[in-house]
Each structure stands twice: as structure tokens, then as C-alpha cells.
């Protein structure tokens, strides 16, 4: 990375443009990349492998974190939540984008995209607030449904077993609209001639979707899954606020990030907090690497 910020080497490049201009364009970005990407990562690794007196500690921080009674449940929570969320995200976002794109009425299509997107403005704490209300049978507009399913109180609705689904619903509610806009944009990018030719050859909407639109969307679907996976592993604000609002019925160490936070700021154990950070980082990288390798993600390069 530092190589890219250093000048020189420009003359080696072909043609009339020296590499120096390219370096000039990226230099400020590289500075930020180092300061807020690289350095904290190194910090995390450093703290994960040292003890309180800054001596090399091997894997003991990782062992402390992994044997903590809160650790395995947190891993399970996050994994289940991710599974539900990612599957519903891929199926429903792509499905809805295709449905919207095929809509005959342009005005309705535009209005729907906007309305689907609106919850995106409530990302973070705001969506948690709204869903606290939606999940409280006493005030919820779907309170009758909650009661009909035998969930009469807020505490019953947010029982620990329900949380992966509830958190997935909240995340989908906030995030899906943005991805629908992205997928729709990608669909718009498909040449009308190609679609027309397919139609003349007798392809129905289903075949067009399956053989033309989906393959061309693949890159964006992969992209969505990677980014959503990354975002999903850092689950924090929703369970945090749910636990605040329920006096701990929804546990305060529900997700890995909450656990990492508590290690650092409640248990005063920065090493184990960093160990969890490093683990999340490694998981993210492995999954990302798999996707990148298998999807030809850098096709555009």
C-alpha cells in the first residue's frame, strides 16, 4: 500500500501518461486508508496477541474469549440471524426488483421504489425504535396478529428464540429498499435490444429473468451478499436497544460485537475484545475471498 503512495516508478509506465498523476489522485485516500483501515487492524492484531503488560500472549486472549460462557451462544445467534437474513435478502430483493422492472406503469414503478426505500432513512437506532413499537402488542398496528399467535406481551414477542427472525425482519425492512434500487439500476443497464430479441425468439418473462437478467445481475447479487454479510456480523445497535428496552430479556451480550464491547469497556479486557475483532475480521475475509474467487468479481478490471 505504501508503494502506491510513493512517487517514482512513473517513468517505467508506457505511453505519455506518467504514473505520477495516478498517485496524486489516490494519495489522500491512501492516507485515510492507512490511518483508519490499516492502523486499527494492526492495533487489533497487536492487542489480540498481547496481554495487559504488552507481552506476547500467544492465543490466550482467544482462549479467554472462546471459553467465555457468552461466546458460543453469541456465535450461534449471529450465524442464525445471518442465514435467515441473507437468504431472504437475495430471494426477495431480486424478486422485487424484477417485478418492479417489469411493471407496465412507470409512475407506479417509481413510486413503489421510493416507498420501499423510505425505511432506509431509518437505519440504525431509528429502525430499532420503530420496531420496538411494532413488536409491542399493546401499541402495534399488527397487535391483533401478535395476540392471535399467542404473544400477548412485549416480553413474549421478543423471547430469545424469536430474535434471529425479528432482527432479520428489522434488517430487511431497513436495507432491502436500497438494494432494490441498486438491482433496478443494474436491470436498467441491460440493453433493451437484447430483451427484445429474446422476446421475439419467444422467451417469456420467466425465461428472460432466468437466462438473461439473473446472469447479468450476478455480480451485484454477490456484491450485496458480501456487504450484507459484513454488515450482519457487526450486529450491534438493534439487540443493544432491544436489551435496553426489555430489561435484559433480549440479552445484552446477544451478538459478538456486544460481547467485544463488554470485554473492552465492562470487563476491562482489551485483549479478548481485540481477539473477537480479529476473529470477525478473519471470517469476513474468508467469505469475501471465496465470493471474489468464485464470482470473477473483478471482471470490470
Amino acid at each position: 500500500m505504501s508503494a502506491s503512495s510513493s512517487a517514482g516508478g512513473g517513468r517505467v509506465r508506457r505511453l505519455s501518461w506518467p504514473g505520477r498523476a495516478g498517485h496524486g489522485f489516490v494519495a489522500p485516500y491512501v492516507v485515510l486508508l492507512i490511518a483508519f483501515g490499516l492502523v486499527p487492524t494492526i492495533y487489533a492484531i497487536y492487542f489480540a496477541f498481547t496481554d495487559a503488560s504488552e507481552r506476547f500472549a500467544g492465543l490466550s486472549n482467544f482462549a479467554t474469549a472462546a471459553t467465555d460462557f457468552r461466546f458460543l451462544p453469541a456465535v450461534g445467534h449471529v450465524a442464525l440471524y445471518l442465514l435467515i437474513w441473507l437468504v431472504s435478502l437475495v430471494v426477495l430483493v431480486v424478486g422485487l426488483a424484477l417485478l418492479l422492472h417489469g411493471l407496465a406503469a412507470r409512475a407506479a414503478d417509481r413510486a413503489l421504489r421510493f416507498l420501499y426505500y423510505i425505511p432506509g432513512a431509518l437505519a440504525g437506532a431509528a429502525s430499532a425504535m420503530v420496531w420496538l413499537f411494532m413488536l409491542d402488542p399493546t401499541v402495534s398496528p399488527v397487535g391483533f396478529l401478535l395476540r392471535a399467535s399467542g404473544l400477548g406481551t412485549f416480553g413474549q414477542v421478543i423471547a430469545p428464540g424469536h430474535l434471529p427472525i425479528l432482527l432479520a425482519v428489522i434488517a430487511f425492512w431497513t436495507g432491502a429498499g436500497g438494494w432494490i434500487v441498486v438491482m433496478y439500476g443494474a436491470l436498467n443497464n441491460i440493453s433493451a435490444d437484447v430483451l427484445e430479441a429474446a422476446r421475439i425468439d419467444g422467451a417469456g418473462p420467466w425465461q428472460i429473468a432466468r437466462h438473461i437478467q439473473l446472469p447479468l445481475l450476478r455480480k451485484w447479487i454477490v456484491y450485496m451478499v458480501i456487504l450484507s454479510f459484513a454488515a450482519g456480523t457487526q450486529l450491534f445497535v438493534e439487540p443493544q436497544l432491544l436489551s435496553q428496552a426489555s430489561n435484559g430479556v433480549a440479552g445484552r451480550d446477544y451478538s459478538l460485537n456486544q460481547l467485544s464491547y463488554d470485554f473492552a469497556f465492562q470487563n476491562d479486557n482489551v485483549g479478548s475484545a481485540a481477539a473477537i475483532s480479529v476473529e470477525l475480521l478473519v471470517v469476513g475475509l474468508v467469505v469475501a475471498g471465496l465470493f471474489v474467487a468464485r464470482s470473477g468479481f473483478f471482471d470490470a478490471d
Partner: protein
């Protein structure tokens, strides 16, 4: 639970009858845009419309009610204007204008970070897509990697780093990390490498344009959609970030409105029975949430036409 509303609703009507009508309708009207509306499609889109919109609608209406109306009235009814005014007065008198202070903080953090992000991100994405330089490939891969790295995992190490350089508690401790936005670099990179014909730049180069001149006179004017897109995503990400300011800004006076909402929530007796004297009623919390999201909504309205026209604008290439 809302899954329970929409899934069965969509599935129940996906029976064979609806399916065959849809197929017949599809075959009859050959030009795609003139097909009669497919009932199944309309149904699915409507079900999701309800799912996405009803909670927002409820929130809008909740701000006009008293707590009693919230519990006993029709959930989707309007309270009263005086109810709204009462909630407004109660909310704004909470810790003397705290809500305005939080909103102002959010605005300062988000806009400063947005400005830095755009100045840094657009040239970087452009250079990665359109120019050759040593280390380009490394930087591209590094960008992807950092972009995929869950940034919240770095919050604790970031806190230690910021602490070490004595920036803890300063507003720059959140603005500078916000400004680092690899996602924006990647969006810009994708945009330029798919939508910008290299021949155009080569022609300008032959005409003697300097590399910076090409960027400023040719690439930048064509990049409006991606500038809007990056600016929009960055602003929303900054405005809605919770974890970073929650950790880095301990002082209530410095909270952005997102963290402020958490404070308000702690003072709602229905959610926290042990609350002290600073009670916040649920409609006031709903009103505060509305205030917190308004700027993002406004920004979205403003940049929506760019979003639609701009995403992967390669389609407009003749």
C-alpha cells in the same frame, strides 16, 4: 412477526389459477410494456408496500397522540394537532433543547465527513479505473478488502488509536473515520470502468490535455450520477452510524441524534420501569425518531433522480 403477514398473503394467492391467468395474459400482449397488470405481481408488490410503509405511517401518526391514545385508539388513526404540539413541547424541553443539540451535532459530523469523502473518493476511484500506476492493483484489492471488513469490529481498536493521538472526545474522532469510505471508492471505480469510454479519454489526451485536465473537464462532468450516489450513501451511513459515536463520544453534549435516541429510550417508563424523574412518553420518543430521520429523507428526495438515472449509467451510452 410482519413476515407472518406478507409471506402467507403472497403464497396463498400463488395458486394454480392465478398462475395460469398470468401466463395467458403474458402470452396475449406481446409488447412487454402494454401487458395487462399481472394480479400476482400486483399482490406481491402491494404486500411489500404495506410491510415497508405501515411502520413509517404508524410512526408519523404516533407523534400526534397521547400515550393513552397509543394504547387504546386505532393504531392507524390521527391523534390531534394539540397532541402533536404537546409532544413537541415536552420533547424540546427535555434537558433544555437536547434534541436540537443532537441534531446539530449529527449535521456537523455528517456534512463535514461528506465533503471530505467526496474530495478524496472520486479522484481515487477515477484513478483506479482510468489510469495506470504502480501499486494500482494492490490498492484496488486493499480497497475491496477494507470495504468488506465489518468496520464495527475496528471500533474498539479505533478508540485505542484515537486515544493515543489525544483526539478522544473531539468531533474529529468520528468525522475522520467517517471520511474513510472505501465503498465510495469502489462505486466510483465501477462507475468509471463500466460507463466511461476509454477512447474518450484517449482522444482528449491526444489533444494535449493534461491528466488532471482530463479528470476535471471530461470525467468530473460525466460523473455527476456517481458523485450523487457516493454522497448519498456516505451521508446516510454517517448520519445513521451508532456504534462509533457511542464509543468515541462519551459526553451527552456531543451525541449525534442516533445516540440521543438511545438516551431517550432509557427514560421511557414502559421500556424501563426504573426510570427516574426525567420521564419520556412513548409519543415523544416517536416524535424524536421522526426528527432524527427527516434529514435523510430530505436528502433522499433530493438525490432520487440521480439515483435512478445514475446507477450504472452505461445504459445511456449509444
Amino acid at each position: 412477526m410482519p413476515t407472518d403477514i406478507r409471506r402467507p398473503a403472497a403464497a396463498a394467492h400463488a395458486g394454480p389459477a392465478a398462475g395460469s391467468t398470468a401466463r395467458r395474459a403474458g402470452r396475449a400482449g406481446r409488447p412487454a410494456r402494454r401487458r395487462p397488470p399481472n394480479p400476482l405481481r400486483a399482490l406481491a408488490l402491494t404486500a411489500f408496500l404495506l410491510f415497508f410503509v405501515v411502520p413509517v405511517l404508524w410512526l408519523l401518526l404516533a407523534a400526534t397522540k397521547t400515550d393513552d391514545q397509543l394504547v387504546h385508539g386505532d393504531p392507524l388513526s390521527f391523534g390531534s394537532w394539540s397532541g402533536l404540539r404537546h409532544n413537541w413541547q415536552a420533547l424540546t424541553s427535555y434537558q433544555g433543547d437536547a434534541i436540537f443539540l443532537w441534531l446539530r451535532n449529527s449535521a456537523v459530523y455528517s456534512f463535514l465527513a461528506l465533503a471530505i469523502t467526496l474530495c478524496v473518493t472520486i479522484p481515487a476511484g477515477y484513478a483506479l479505473a482510468m489510469t495506470e500506476f504502480r501499486g494500482r492493483r494492490t490498492l484496488l484489492v486493499a480497497t475491496l478488502v477494507v470495504m468488506l471488513m465489518p468496520n464495527a469490529t475496528l471500533v474498539v481498536p479505533l478508540f485505542l488509536e484515537i486515544n493515543a493521538v489525544h483526539l478522544a472526545g473531539s468531533m474529529w474522532s468520528v468525522i475522520l473515520p467517517y471520511s474513510f469510505y472505501p465503498f465510495g471508492v469502489y462505486l466510483t471505480y465501477i462507475y468509471f470502468s463500466t460507463a466511461m469510454p476509454k477512447e474518450l479519454l484517449a482522444a482528449a489526451k491526444l489533444d494535449g490535455c493534461s491528466e488532471f485536465g482530463v479528470f476535471r473537464r471530461i470525467a468530473l462532468p460525466l460523473a455527476t450520477p456517481v458523485v450523487a450516489l457516493v454522497g448519498f450513501f456516505s451521508f446516510v451511513a454517517n448520519w445513521t452510524n451508532y456504534f462509533l459515536p457511542y464509543v468515541l463520544l462519551p459526553d451527552s453534549d456531543q451525541f449525534p441524534v442516533q445516540v440521543g435516541l438511545g438516551t431517550l429510550l432509557n427514560n421511557v417508563p414502559q421500556f424501563n420501569p426504573t426510570v427516574g424523574s426525567l420521564e419520556v412518553q412513548r409519543p415523544e420518543l416517536a416524535l424524536a425518531t421522526l426528527l432524527a430521520i427527516t434529514p435523510v429523507l430530505v436528502v433522499f428526495l433530493f438525490s432520487q433522480r440521480f439515483l435512478v438515472a445514475g446507477m450504472l449509467a452505461g445504459a445511456t451510452k449509444d
